[in-house]
């Protein structure tokens, strides 16, 4: 049975990496704007879709698909900021208006993808090409472990990106400006920071992270359709609330916790209780520690 436990831990790490990447995008936008971008799940789906088009239709290798997906979803995300968020912000609209606007954008993005799917594939789902990653699993006999190359790629890609992001936010001038804007927009602009530029960069980064998560998710699950963002939208929200809204490390931690609870609950009590357990924990955290595990109270967040 130890073999099972180890294998399940591997499963948690690979699924958690994807959740963490996805939640990071949510978290970035929230920490800088103070608004949830609910179209983030649509960007996740678009990432998976662009990856599919590049590797399947254009028959390019995986790394091209990954980069193309990140660039396209990053740009889509910038477009979201320009169309769905900035005009509202300029008019001083309430945060809830921006939230609703992002829901509208999500629906639009999903519908466009649906039309494209039918046009390109004559149905609403399609699979990544079979030979994209080697299928032969890496077997560690003594531990009873099997790791597929796809899952290995997912974990490595996620780790690399998370480390780069951490570096970018804490060590670069752009990161410092982002944190300044997150702390206080007004002060930041008085200090000569181009706030609108920072917003654009934040949206680009968040979109690219979401898109990357989408391709990696599709690598594990093979099939893409316009609705794969629906489930992960809630999972990502749960992850950032658990970890702490606006905290980068919190988003990562939250992603892994949610994946862990899902995998363990399926194995022990059955999938029917899986989401119930996840949301029960969310509820408990909100009661006991509303700012999340790694979150700081609103006033000191930066």
């Amino acid at each position: 049975m130890d073999g099972i436990l180890l294998q399940q831990i591997v499963n948690v790490i690979s699924l958690g990496s994807i959740y963490a990447l996805f939640a990071l995008g949510y978290s970035l936008v929230f920490s800088v704007l103070g608004v949830l971008n609910l179209a983030h799940s649509a960007l996740f789906m678009w990432g998976a879709f662009i990856g599919l088009l590049v590797t399947d239709r254009l028959e390019m290798p995986l790394w091209v698909g990954l980069i193309a997906a990140m660039i396209v979803t990053g740009l889509l995300s910038v477009l979201l900021e320009l169309i769905a968020f900035r005009p509202l912000r300029k008019r001083g609209a309430a945060r809830i208006a921006q939230l609703i606007s992002s829901i509208g954008a999500a629906i639009l993005l999903v519908n466009i993808a649906q039309l494209l799917f039918i046009r390109v594939y004559n149905r609403v789902e399609a699979a990544y090409p079979r030979g994209l990653v080697p299928r032969q699993p890496i077997i560690i006999e003594e531990l009873g472990l099997r790791i597929t190359p796809a899952r290995l790629i997912v974990v490595i890609a996620a780790l690399v990106v998370m480390i780069l992001l951490q570096y970018l936010v804490t060590r670069t001038s752009l990161g410092q400006q982002m944190r300044a804007v997150a702390f206080n927009q007004r002060t930041a602009s008085l200090l000569g920071i181009n706030v609108n530029y920072i917003f654009l960069m934040t949206f680009f980064l968040a979109g690219a992270l979401g898109g990357l998560a989408g391709v990696l998710y599709a690598l594990i699950t093979n099939v893409v359709d316009p609705f794969i963002g629906q489930n992960i939208a809630l999972i990502g929200l749960t992850a950032i609330v658990l970890g702490g809204m606006g905290s980068i490390n919190g988003a990562v931690l939250g992603g892994f916790i949610v994946a862990g609870i899902q995998i363990i609950s399926i194995d022990t009590v059955g999938s029917s209780y899986r989401d119930a357990l996840v949301f029960l924990l969310l509820f408990a955290i909100l009661l006991i520690r509303p700012q999340g595990i790694l979150g700081q109270p609103e006033s000191t967040r930066a």
């Binding site: 294998q7 499963n11 149905r123 699979a127 699950t221 609705f227 794969i228 399926i266 029917s272």
Partner: protein
């Protein structure tokens, strides 16, 4: 501006006229020997109005569109044939009003209300999922309008009333035979079971599987569950495969079936996977590729049937010609469903809903793509099922593959 509009509309209308003239010519040639229909058994109707409308509720968006779009295409094909061949008499046109249920019970109810109460259609095909049928069919029953499921295979669909029909073989008719043949052929003793526990179709499939396994004294090592829309099955598969089953038995819809097949192979399981009706789709084969080898599934219809009905061959040909892809069982059933409605209307020679119901129930030995087709006293379908296994990338009849393997062993 007015002139411009006139020119524009002429430009639009001209090709339409041209196309309709051309297509009418084409169909005149075919009209000699229609491969499907009660041309002899029932007289050409005399008492029908010029336009008849039936409804169809299919899942045309969301995940369920895997089935729904093929169903709509098949019904459109059938109705085009009915009209082109004058099945309901000269100058009588059959129309279909399509509604999208999106795999959602509430939306299916709304669609049924609209078709039956507002539009007053003669009869309704669908809805796609059993879950939707349980929600929406009572409305048709209350209003005395026939509803025929062409893909509802859960237990109890036709118990909803005497206006509720289906032409899709229920799981309880397909699964026991499939399980028994698989056990006989492969000598199974211990299996792991996995099913979706939030969908009527996958739950009733699971119940029938468990009964069939018990009847054959097969040990069930473990039962794992999942939810509709799940993509990652690593947890369930890890714990099932660790118990070394002789076979995996899975009750799932197509979208989840693909993932389960692929991921089971990734976790190193290479034994047989016995599936419910949801596995029976070319999409499952396409998307799971060589991982699908050894998947066993019972079916109402098989495109590779070594001895197909003439109407089945004609249907395949017409479908490929029209849509460029091979039809699946769901398309064959939807196509047959539309033809059954047309036949009921022809034989009833009436646009009265009760007459149509009676004529439909009375249909016997109709030469459909599914085989010689009849309804039993519960308005459930009667025709021969076919047990099949994925072998070298295609669904083949299980018996013939086992025979072939035995011969090559000798």
């Amino acid at each position: 501006m007015k002139k411009f509009r006139l020119i524009l509309s002429v430009l639009f209308i001209l090709p339409l006229i041209f196309v309709s003239v051309v297509s009418a010519d084409e169909h005149d040639e075919d009209a000699d020997t229609p491969p499907i229909g009660f041309w002899e058994e029932c007289e050409t109707p005399q008492n029908l109005p010029d336009e008849l409308t039936i409804g169809a509720i299919f899942g045309l968006s969301e995940a369920v569109a895997v089935y729904g779009i093929a169903q709509r295409q098949a019904v459109e094909l059938a109705v085009a044939e009915v009209n082109a061949w004058g099945y309901l008499g000269e100058g009588v046109t059959l129309r279909v009003q399509f509604e999208d249920s999106a795999g959602n019970a509430q939306q299916a109810i709304a669609a049924m209300e609209k078709l039956v109460v507002e539009d007053g259609v003669l009869a309704v095909l669908g809805p796609t999922l059993s879950t939707e049928a349980f929600a929406a069919d009572p409305i048709a029953q209350e209003n005395g309008t026939v509803v025929m499921g062409v893909s509802n295979t859960a237990i109890g669909i036709t118990d909803m009333g005497d206006f509720v029909f289906r032409n899709s073989l229920p799981e309880e008719a397909v699964i026991p035979g499939t399980v028994e043949q698989a056990i006989d052929a492969l000598g199974l003793e211990r299996v792991g079971v996995m099913y979706g526990d939030d969908d009527d179709f996958t739950i009733s499939g699971f119940d029938v599987f468990v009964d069939a396994l018990d009847d054959n004294e097969i040990e069930i090592l473990s039962v794992e569950t999942f939810a509709r829309g799940d993509r990652d099955f690593s947890s369930q598969l890890t714990s099932l495969i660790a118990r070394n089953p002789d076979a995996l038995v899975v009750s799932a819809l197509a979208a989840e079936a693909v993932q389960i097949i692929i991921q089971a192979r990734e976790f190193g399981y290479d034994g047989p996977i016995i599936g419910g009706n949801g596995f029976n789709s070319p999409a499952v084969l396409d998307q799971s590729g060589e991982d699908a080898e050894g998947v066993i599934v019972g079916a109402a219809w098989n495109i590779g049937d070594p001895d197909p009905e003439p109407s089945s061959e004609a249907f395949q040909q017409a479908f490929v010609e029209e849509y460029g892809v091979a039809p699946d069982q769901f398309a064959a059933q939807a196509y047959t469903g539309a033809w059954l409605f047309a036949t009921a209307i022809r034989c009833a020679d009436s646009d009265d809903r009760a007459d149509i119901r009676d004529a439909l129930a009375a249909i016997e030995d109709f030469p459909s793509p599914l085989g010689l087709y009849s309804f039993d006293e519960n308005r459930d379908p009667v025709h021969d099922p076919i047990a099949q296994i994925v072998f070298e990338g295609a669904f083949l009849p299980l018996a013939s593959v086992i025979e072939g393997a035995a011969e090559s062993d000798e």
